[in-house]
C-alpha cells in the first residue's frame, strides 16, 4: 500500500477526534475500545483455540483408543487395560527391541549430524576456507530432498545389489559380496545421520556467527593455539546451541520412519514408528488399540525430552548476554591447510551428496538398471511416465492442494498464536506457548495414528465433520506437526518488531484490526512469506502424516513414491519421479530466493 495513504488513514482517525469536543472524544474512545477489544478477542480467541484443539485432540483420542476395547468410533466398547497388557506384558510387540533400535537410530543420527554439521559450521563461519560459498550452497541443498528420496538415492549408488559404486567396488576388488551393507542397522543410521547434517548446520552456524570474534582473538593473544581456542573457547560458547541441536536431532531420530521403512525392510529392522505404521495399516484387522498403547510409551519419553529442551533453551538467553556482536565477521587463517581441508570437504560432499544425486538421475535414464552404466539402455520412458501417468498426476494435484492449503491456514494460525503469546497480557499465554511446542514430542507417525482415531470418533457425530479419507485430514495433520518450528520462527520475528510502533498507531486512533493491518502486517510481511514458504516446502515433502491417513484417491506424491518403491521396487521409475520432485523443490527454493525469501539465515558474504 502507498505509505502516504496509510499515514492518511491514521491521521483521519486522529483528526476526527481532535475536531470534536473533548468530552465527546473521550466518550467515543471508551465505547470504541470495547468494540476493538471484542474484535481482537474474537480473532485471537479463534486462532488460539484452534491451535490448542489441533495439538491436543489427537493425543486425547490416542489415549482414549488405547484404553477402549472396541475400535475407534465404536461406542459399544468399554474401558479396558487389555491393550497395555497385550503390548507390554504378553509381548504382542518386542517393545525392548523396538526401543533399543529407536534409541540406536536416534543416537547415531545425532552423533553423525553433529560431527559433520558442527565441523562444517565452524570451518565455514570462522575460517578463511576457500570456496566456502559454493560449499555452503551444496551443504544446504539437501534441504530440498526428503529422507525417503535420500534412501532411494543411496540404494542406487551404494546399495549392495545394484548400487553403481558398490558393484564397481565389488568387481574391482574381486569380492563375492559388497564390502558394506547399506541395509544393515549401521547403514540406516549413517543415512538418517547424513540427512540431518543440514539441519544441524543451520541450527549451530548462527550461534557461531553471533559469537563475538574478540572472544576467540583474546584467547589466541593470551597464548592459546587455534586448536586450543576452538576447544576451550569456541565450542563451550556455543554449547547451548549444540545441545539444543542435539536434542532436536535426537527427537527426530526417535520418531524416524521413512529411511528405516525403506532400508530396514529386507532384514526386518524395526523401530517404533515402523512398528506402529505396520500395526495400523498393514495388519488385517488393524491393531488400533495396541498401536495406541505402544505409541504412548514413546510419547512419554519424547515429552520428557521436550520438557528438558525447554528448560535448556530458556537458560540459553542468560548465557549469551555478555557476548556482544562483532562489527564484521573476522575469520581465522588456516594457512597452508586451507586447500587440503577444502579438498577433503569437497570429497565428502561429493561422495555423500553430489554423487548419489547424479547416480539417481542416471538410473532414471535406464530402461532397466543392473548396477552398470549401459548406454544402450538409455531411455526417457520413465520421465514420460512421470508426467503422463494419471495416478501420478492425481497425486501431484493432491500434494499441491494439501501443501498450499496447509501453508496458508498454518501461517495464519501460527502468526496469530505468536501474536497472542508475545503481545497480549492474557494469563493463558504460557499454556498456549507450551501447547504450540508440544507436537515436538509427538513423532509424525504417532500424530497420524491419533488423527485417524480422532477422525473415526468425530466422524460419527455428523457427516460434515467426517474428514476420514479426505485431503482435510492430511492437511490438518501436516499443519500440526509443523506448528512447533513455525511458531518459533514467528515468535522470533514478532519480538523484533518494537511494540511502540504498534502502540503509537493506536494512540493515533487506529483500531486493533487497523493497527494490525497497517503496522504489524507490513512489518511482518517478510516473516509471513518465510513461514508460508517453509510450510509449503515441508508439507509437500511430508510422508509420515499422509502415509497414516491417506486412502485410495487421497494419495499425495510422497505416498505414491513410497508405495511404488515398497510394493513394486521399481527403482527406475522411482528415480525419475524423485528427480522431478527434487527439481521442482529446487525451482521453488530458487524462485523464493530470488524474491529474497529463505528460511535459513546465513549472513556473511
Amino acid at each position: 500500500m502507498d505509505p502516504k495513504r496509510r499515514f492518511g488513514t491514521l491521521l483521519r482517525g486522529f483528526s476526527s477526534r481532535v475536531a470534536g469536543l473533548i468530552p465527546d472524544a473521550i466518550h467515543d474512545r471508551v465505547s470504541d475500545s470495547v468494540v476493538r477489544n471484542q474484535e481482537k478477542r474474537l480473532v485471537l480467541g479463534t486462532a488460539v483455540t484452534s491451535t490448542a484443539i489441533l495439538v491436543l485432540i489427537p493425543l486425547v483420542f490416542l489415549l482414549w483408543s488405547s484404553v477402549w476395547s472396541g475400535y475407534p468410533g465404536d461406542f459399544s466398547g468399554a474401558l479396558t487395560l487389555e491393550n497395555y497388557l497385550s503390548v507390554y506384558v504378553q509381548g504382542a510387540f518386542d517393545v525392548v527391541g523396538l526401543l533399543s533400535n529407536s534409541i540406536f537410530v536416534a543416537i547415531g543420527m545425532a552423533a553423525i549430524a553433529m560431527v559433520f554439521g558442527l565441523g562444517f559450521a565452524w570451518l565455514l563461519v570462522r575460517t578463511n576456507l576457500p570456496t566456502k560459498g559454493a560449499m555452503e550452497l551444496v551443504l544446504i541443498s539437501p534441504y530440498a530432498v526428503p529422507s525417503y528420496i535420500y534412501a532411494i538415492m543411496y540404494i542406487a549408488t551404494y546399495g549392495p545389489d545394484n548400487g553403481l559404486v558398490m558393484t564397481a567396488l565389488t568387481e574391482a576388488l574381486g569380492l563375492e559380496a559388497a564390502p558394506v551393507d547399506l541395509f544393515s542397522p549401521w547403514g540406516i543410521v549413517f543415512i538418517v545421520g547424513l540427512n540431518a547434517v543440514t539441519t544441524f548446520y543451520l541450527l549451530t552456524a548462527p550461534a557461531l556467527q553471533n559469537m563475538d570474534p574478540a572472544l576467540e582473538e583474546v584467547s589466541r593473544i593470551h597464548g592459546a593455539s587455534l586448536a586450543r581456542t576452538v576447544k576451550s573457547i569456541s565450542f563451550p560458547l556455543i554449547l547451548p546451541a549444540i545441545f539444543s541441536a542435539l536434542l532436536v536431532t535426537f527427537l527426530r531420530g526417535l520418531g524416524e520412519f521413512s529411511v528405516v521403512a525403506i532400508l530396514g525392510a529386507r532384514d526386518g529392522f524395526q523401530v517404533y514408528a515402523t512398528a506402529i505404521w505396520a500395526a495400523v495399516t498393514l495388519r488385517a484387522p488393524p491393531q488400533y488399540g495396541e498401536a495406541a498403547a505402544l505409541s504412548l510409551s514413546l510419547v512419554l519419553i519424547t515429552a520428557v525430552l521436550v520438557w528438558y529442551y525447554r528448560k535448556v533453551t530458556a537458560r540459553k538467553e542468560s548465557y549469551m548476554t555478555v557476548t556482544s556482536r562483532g562489527r564484521e565477521p573476522r575469520t581465522w587463517d588456516l594457512g597452508k591447510w586451507r586447500w587440503p581441508i577444502a579438498g577433503g570437504l569437497w570429497t565428502i560432499l561429493i561422495v555423500v551428496w553430489v554423487l548419489p544425486i547424479a547416480v539417481m538421475v542416471l538410473v532414471a535414464l535406464h530402461s532397466v538398471w543392473y548396477g552398470h552404466i549401459d548406454p544402450s539402455a538409455f531411455t526417457l520412458e520413465h520421465f514420460v511416465r512421470t508426467f503422463t501417468d494419471s495416478r501420478l498426476r492425481d497425486a501431484f494435484a493432491n500434494s499441491i492442494l494439501v501443501s498450499v492449503g496447509g501453508a496458508t491456514f498454518g501461517t495464519g494460525l501460527v502468526v496469530l498464536t505468536a501474536y497472542f503469546t508475545e503481545r497480549t497480557e492474557s494469563r493463558f499465554r504460557g499454556i498456549v506457548e507450551f501447547l504450540s511446542l508440544s507436537p515436538l514430542a509427538v513423532p509424525g507417525i504417532i500424530m497420524g495414528t491419533g488423527l485417524i482415531f480422532t477422525a473415526l470418533w468425530v466422524g460419527k457425530l455428523h457427516s460434515l465433520v467426517d474428514i476420514y479419507g479426505t485431503l482435510w485430514i492430511i492437511m490438518i495433520g501436516s499443519i500440526i506437526v509443523f506448528i512447533p518450528v513455525s511458531s518459533r520462527i514467528a515468535v522470533g520475528n514478532i519480538v523484533q518488531i518494537h511494540s511502540a510502533l504498534e502502540e503509537s498507531a493506536r494512540v493515533f486512533g487506529a483500531s486493533w484490526i487497523q493497527q494490525v493491518r497497517e503496522i504489524l502486517l507490513p512489518l511482518f510481511k517478510k516473516t509471513t512469506a518465510v513461514l508460508w514458504f517453509y510450510l509449503l516446502i515441508h508439507i509437500f515433502q511430508l510422508l509420515t502424516i499422509p502415509i497414516m491417513t491417506y486412502t485410495t484417491g487421497t494419495e499425495v506424491l510422497p505416498v505414491t513414491l513410497f508405495n511404488l518403491w515398497t510394493k513394486d521396487a521399481n527403482i527406475e521409475l522411482v528415480s525419475a519421479i524423485s528427480t522431478v520432485f527434487i527439481g521442482l523443490t529446487l525451482l521453488v527454493l530458487l524462485l523464493f530466493r530470488a524474491q529474497g525469501i529463505t528460511f535459513y539465515r546465513i549472513e556473511g558474504k
Binding site: 563475538d212 574478540a214 572472544l215 582473538e217 583474546v218 584467547s219 589466541r220 593473544i221 593470551h222 597464548g223 592459546a224 593455539s225 587455534l226 586450543r228 573457547i233 563451550p236 560458547l237 554449547l239 542468560s318 548465557y319 549469551m320 548476554t321 555478555v322 557476548t323 556482544s324 573476522r330 587463517d333
Partner: protein
C-alpha cells in the same frame, strides 16, 4: 624514550588496505621499556587496526613489527598471535561468559609463556585480582559482572602472565564518567607498580594526556603528530591536532599583504600578523585557521575602555552552565560567526541579548590550513 637500548615495540612502515581504502599509511613508532604511549585519533583513523596488527589478529600488507627484540612481522614472517607474548584489553573486554573470573584470568598462565610455576597459579591470580581490587570476585561467574568489574577482569587477564607489552583498545570508553576517572588513576598506578610498556588506543584526549608519556595523534591512517602531552596540549604543530585537542573556537581566515605589512583577515576582524601567536601560518600559503580558547575571551554588557583588547558585538544564541563554567554562544553582528565563550562567573544572559566580547590578539593561534 627508553634509555635501555632496544625498544619494547618497534613498528616500522606499517601499511594496510581494506579494499580501496588505505587504513594504515606508512606508520612507524617505538615504545620504550616502561613507557606508556597513547594513540589518539577520531574513530576510523586506523588506530585499532595498528593494535590488531601488533597483536597478530590482523595482517598488515607491508611493514615490520618487533616485540622485545623479536621480529613478529616482516616479509615472509607472520608470527601467530599466541607466540607474540603480549596482553590485550578489548574495548568490549571480551570476557569469556562461560568461565568464572578465576578461569578467565588463569587462562594466559595455562597457555602462554611465563616464569610462574603451576603450583603458584592460584596465588598469582589472587594477587593480580587484589591489584585490580576485585579479589572478592574470584569465583563469580563472568555473566554476573558489571562493566567496571569486567574491565578489571580483562585487565587482570592481560597482565597475569607478565607480557612484554600491554595493548589497550579504548578500555575505558564503555564505562560511566566516574568509573572512568577512577580507572584512569588505577591504570597509572598499576603501570608504576608493574613497570610495563603499554600502547593505549583512545579517542578521548583526557585519557591520552593523563596517562601517556608520549602521545601519537592519528588521522586517516597516518601519524600526524607525536610528542610530549604537555607540548601537544599547549602548542601542537598542526591545525588538526589543535582542533582535536581541547575545546577551541575555530575561524577561517587568510594572510594578506597590506602595505608591505602582513595582516590576518578573519571573521573576527583584521590583525597584524605580528600581534597574533603564529604557529604555522605562512604568507606563501595564505589560507589559515585561527584558534581561540573559549576561556581567553571576556564577555560583558557594556563597552570597555581597554584599548589593548579588541571588542566585538553580537547576540546571545545559547547559554548555560557547563561543568565548571558558564558557557555562552555569541553570534557576531559582523560576519555572523558563532563564538563560544567560557566564563568563571555566572552571568544571567538571555537569548537575543546584545553583548560585547573582548579578546587580545596574542591569544589567537594561527595555523596553516593545509597542514
Amino acid at each position: 624514550m627508553s634509555d635501555s637500548g632496544t625498544p619494547q615495540l618497534d613498528v616500522r612502515s606499517l601499511s594496510k588496505r581494506f579494499g580501496d581504502e588505505l587504513v594504515l599509511d606508512d606508520v612507524s613508532f617505538e615504545i620504550g621499556a616502561d613507557e606508556i604511549v597513547a594513540l589518539l585519533g577520531p574513530s576510523g583513523c586506523g588506530k585499532t587496526t595498528i593494535l590488531r596488527c601488533i597483536a597478530g589478529v590482523e595482517t598488515p600488507d607491508t611493514g615490520h613489527i618487533e616485540i622485545a627484540g623479536n621480529c613478529v612481522f616482516d616479509e615472509g614472517i607472520n608470527a601467530a598471535p599466541e607466540t607474540r607474548g603480549v596482553g590485550m584489553v578489548y574495548q568490549n573486554y571480551a570476557i569469556w561468559p562461560h568461565k568464572s573470573v578465576y578461569e578467565n584470568v588463569v587462562f594466559p598462565l595455562k597457555h602462554a609463556d611465563h616464569d610462574v610455576p603451576e603450583a603458584e597459579y592460584e596465588k598469582r591470580v589472587e594477587d593480580i585480582l587484589e591489584l585490580v581490587e576485585i579479589g572478592e570476585l574470584k569465583d563469580a561467574p563472568a555473566t554476573d559482572l558489571s562493566g567496571g568489574q569486567q574491565q578489571r577482569t580483562a585487565l587482570a587477564r592481560s597482565l597475569v602472565h607478565d607480557p612484554e607489552l600491554l595493548l589497550l583498545d579504548e578500555p575505558l570508553s564503555n564505562l560511566d564518567r566516574e568509573l572512568r576517572t577512577n580507572m584512569r588513576y588505577q591504570l597509572q598506578k598499576l603501570q608504576h607498580e608493574l613497570g610495563i610498556s603499554m600502547l593505549y588506543v583512545t579517542h578521548d584526549q583526557e585519557e591520552a594526556f593523563y596517562l601517556a608519556d608520549r602521545v601519537l595523534v592519528m588521522r586517516n591512517g597516518e601519524i600526524v603528530e607525536r610528542g610530549d602531552p604537555a607540548d601537544l596540549f599547549q602548542r601542537p604543530g598542526s591545525s588538526f591536532t589543535r582542533e582535536f585537542v581541547g575545546q577551541w573556537n575555530r575561524f577561517e581566515g587568510e594572510i594578506v599583504d597590506e602595505d608591505s605589512d602582513y595582516v590576518v583577515r578573519s571573521d573576527l576582524g583584521v590583525f597584524p600578523l605580528s600581534s597574533v601567536d603564529n604557529v604555522t601560518g605562512d604568507p606563501e600559503s595564505p589560507a589559515i585557521h585561527c584558534f581561540l580558547r573559549p576561556a581567553d575571551i571576556d564577555i560583558g554588557r557594556v563597552s570597555s575602555t581597554d584599548k589593548r583588547r579588541i571588542e566585538l558585538w553580537g547576540t546571545v544564541v545559547a547559554e548555560g552552565l557547563l561543568g565548571e563554567h558558564y558557557e555562552v554562544t555569541v553570534k557576531l553582528d559582523d560576519g555572523g560567526a558563532n563564538v563560544v565563550v567560557h566564563s568563571d562567573q555566572y552571568h544571567e544572559f538571555e537569548r537575543g541579548e546584545e553583548v560585547a566580547i573582548r579578546l587580545g590578539p596574542g591569544a589567537m593561534k594561527v595555523y596553516d590550513r593545509s597542514k
